[in-house]
């Protein structure tokens, strides 16, 4: 009895102390709150308000009645999407493009970083590095413009080469079966040099002592790359992989949309372009249906990144958050 009240009183005083130090901290740093107020208001309006607005996916949105005034319909729009003719196609396209992009595109920057890191010629290394990251600065619109121009059946350099070698010209952009390959390989061309930067900085952080020890043990250069550099890259690799896994359900809207044409739509329609077309581009825009598809996508992404992060935390003891 006695000790209980004493303890409670001690608890109260320490809580009061905490409260007082909190008040002191707030008073001391009041300026920080003023400074961060505008970014926070921006965040509430432009990030959190749309999260609140996403409930139109569960309502039959009527513009004149606003979000809360529109009638609640539960999961109707999600059911509609899952049962729709486009569901399988859109999901399949999104997943196959992004998995292909991940599997094929992921190793290239790592390989390039290892090559650059192992070069014994500093000026040559610098030249190759500058050249390889240049394409990163090309905008998506221009990138797709270049693709279309190069692959054009009449005036494209690729078809010039094919016909010069005696082949028959190919309409690459008009064939659905080529879409995935064009998308992924142009991504690799554009992004490898840039994405290598992060691995290069991870490589430069490896303790040179490890290399010396390996050298003393008689390891040749390949063995040192394999047994020192590559393990040293693992933390960076697992973080990048986690980030990529989290966006496996979202293929970049812009590039796919710009590469689409009526001939390749069967393999190029992905979730994000479909959301745009049902929601904003159609003659009778269905905001609620479109929002539901978008939400479906966001939730899967959130779940995926959480799972991969959890696995990562277990195996590598690295967490995103």
């Amino acid at each position: 009895m006695m000790s209980g009240t004493v303890n409670r009183r001690i608890g109260e005083t320490s809580r009061a102390k905490q409260w007082r130090s909190l008040k002191r901290g707030v008073k001391l740093h009041w300026e920080l709150y003023v400074i961060i107020a505008i970014p926070v208001i921006w965040l509430l309006v432009f990030s959190y308000y749309p999260m609140y607005g996403v409930q139109i996916a569960f309502r039959k949105f009527i513009a004149s009645k606003g979000i809360l005034g529109s009638p609640y319909v539960g999961l109707m729009y999600f059911e509609k999407f899952i049962k729709s003719y486009n569901f399988g196609r859109v999901i399949r396209n999104t997943l196959s493009i992004s998995v292909y992009d991940l599997v094929l595109g992921f190793p290239f920057p790592i390989i390039l970083a290892l090559l650059l890191n192992n070069s014994l010629r500093p000026r040559y290394k610098k030249f190759v590095q500058i050249v390889t990251y240049m394409p990163y600065f090309i905008s998506t619109v221009v990138m797709v413009g270049i693709i279309i121009q190069f692959l054009s059946p009449k005036v494209g350099v690729v078809n010039y080469a094919i016909t010069a070698l005696g082949g028959k010209e190919v309409d690459f952009m008009g064939k659905p079966e080529y879409f995935k390959h064009i998308y992924v390989w142009s991504n690799i061309w554009q992004g490898t040099g840039w994405n290598a930067i992060i691995y290069l900085s991870a490589l430069s952080a490896i303790d040179p002592g490890q290399h010396e020890a390996a050298l003393v043990d008689g390891a040749n250069r390949f063995q040192r790359m394999w047994h020192v550099d590559l393990p040293g890259l693992m933390p960076a690799i697992s973080i990048m992989l986690t980030l990529r896994m989290g966006s496996i359900m979202s293929v970049g809207f812009e590039k796919a949309f710009l590469m689409q044409n009526n001939l390749n739509l069967s393999t190029s329609e992905i979730i994000s372009t479909y959301v745009y077309k049902t929601g904003l581009a159609s003659a009778a825009p269905d905001y609620s249906y479109s929002a539901a598809i978008g939400l479906f996508n966001s939730v899967i992404n959130l779940v995926l990144i959480s799972i991969v992060n959890k696995i990562n935390t277990r195996i590598n003891e690295i967490s995103l958050w």
Binding site: E31, P50, M51, F137, G145, L258
Partner: protein, 304 residues
């Protein structure tokens, strides 16, 4: 430095045949990578400086054929392109300035460990990287705020990129310890003055990175204008580029209607020149900030 010299001299003394083979393969693969990237770029550049007929007949292989700057003249003779350029410069300059102010205003307080409530605020920011309302709710919001078809729509909704805030915060945390802030505050310097007189001068490296990231984002931005801007006088360059490069709406842009061959050649030439003109600014600027850049990325990546 001395370590690498030791390493290299050892290699020179007893470079085994295995190591020599490794170096050779390493150099060869690097060359391969460089050529694959470089050839399309050179092809575009050479085509842009060739004559219309050389381009339309496919005579350009590596270097310019019948050197000419007709393509560039054509680019700058068209009003839509020039307007697009001016608009893009405006959006990039104003937008990046707003981005920098907002990013520092968010990142600096989040980097001060003694600020009560820091973790809650930090979570508020990072959560938006994992989940968002999506296209339709954002569109409805933008419409409701009356931003559609205004120049502000290119600047305000994109005022903060949370990923960049996190990079900046990490930089501030590691380069400007709380102790310095507190020492300054004891001397009567408030946070605002501290930011202006200490934080910004000490953070040039990361601010250079931010200018590049945000600037490039604005310059290359297409979707925002595509969704919200329909007034031609407000179109940024990327929208004009799409009309010409992708939708092929080029015929009404050619000023001299001569033979079809020449016209077709001119259309091709215009495209190549346009690709060069629109992509050159950042490609040329990058090597100058590259040094800061690698440093900034490294610090940001240490703790993502």
């Amino acid at each position: 430095m001395s370590k690498t010299i030791v390493q290299d001299s050892r290699n020179k003394i007893k470079a085994t045949s295995q190591d020599r083979a490794f170096n050779l393969i390493n150099d060869a693969l690097m060359l391969f990578a460089a050529l694959i990237v470089l050839y399309p770029l050179i092809y575009i550049l050479s085509s842009a400086f060739s004559s219309p007929t050389a381009v339309s007949q496919g005579r350009v292989v590596l270097l310019p054929v019948d050197f000419s700057v007709r393509g560039f003249e054509e680019v700058f003779s068209h009003k839509a392109i020039v307007t697009g350029f001016a608009n893009s410069i405006y959006y990039t300059v104003v937008g990046t300035t707003v981005n920098l102010v907002m990013t520092v205003a968010a990142a600096y307080p989040l980097s001060r460990k003694r600020m009560p409530g820091r973790r809650v605020l930090l979570f508020m920011f990072t959560f938006t990287m994992l989940f968002n309302g999506g296209l339709i709710p954002s569109y409805l919001l933008t419409a409701r705020l009356g931003l559609i078809n205004t120049r502000a729509v290119m600047i305000i909704p994109t005022a903060i990129n949370v990923f960049n805030v996190i990079i900046c915060r990490t930089f501030f945390e590691t380069t400007i310890p709380d102790e310095i802030t507190e020492a300054a505050m004891i001397d009567g310097c408030g946070h605002t003055r501290f930011i202006l007189q200490m934080v910004i001068p000490l953070s040039k490296a990361i601010l250079a990175v931010m200018v590049l990231y945000y600037g490039l984002g604005h310059w290359n931005s297409y979707f925002q204008a595509f969704l919200y801007i329909s007034d031609k006088s407000k179109f940024p360059l990327q929208i004009v580029l799409r009309d010409i490069l992708i939708l092929n709406q080029v015929n009404d842009i050619i000023s001299d209607p001569l033979l079809y061959q020449a016209k077709a050649g001119m259309a091709q030439l215009l495209k190549y020149a346009l690709i060069v003109v629109s992509s050159a600014p950042f490609m040329i600027a990058y090597p100058f900030v590259a040094k800061h850049f690698v440093k900034g990325v490294m610090i940001g990546a240490v703790k993502g």
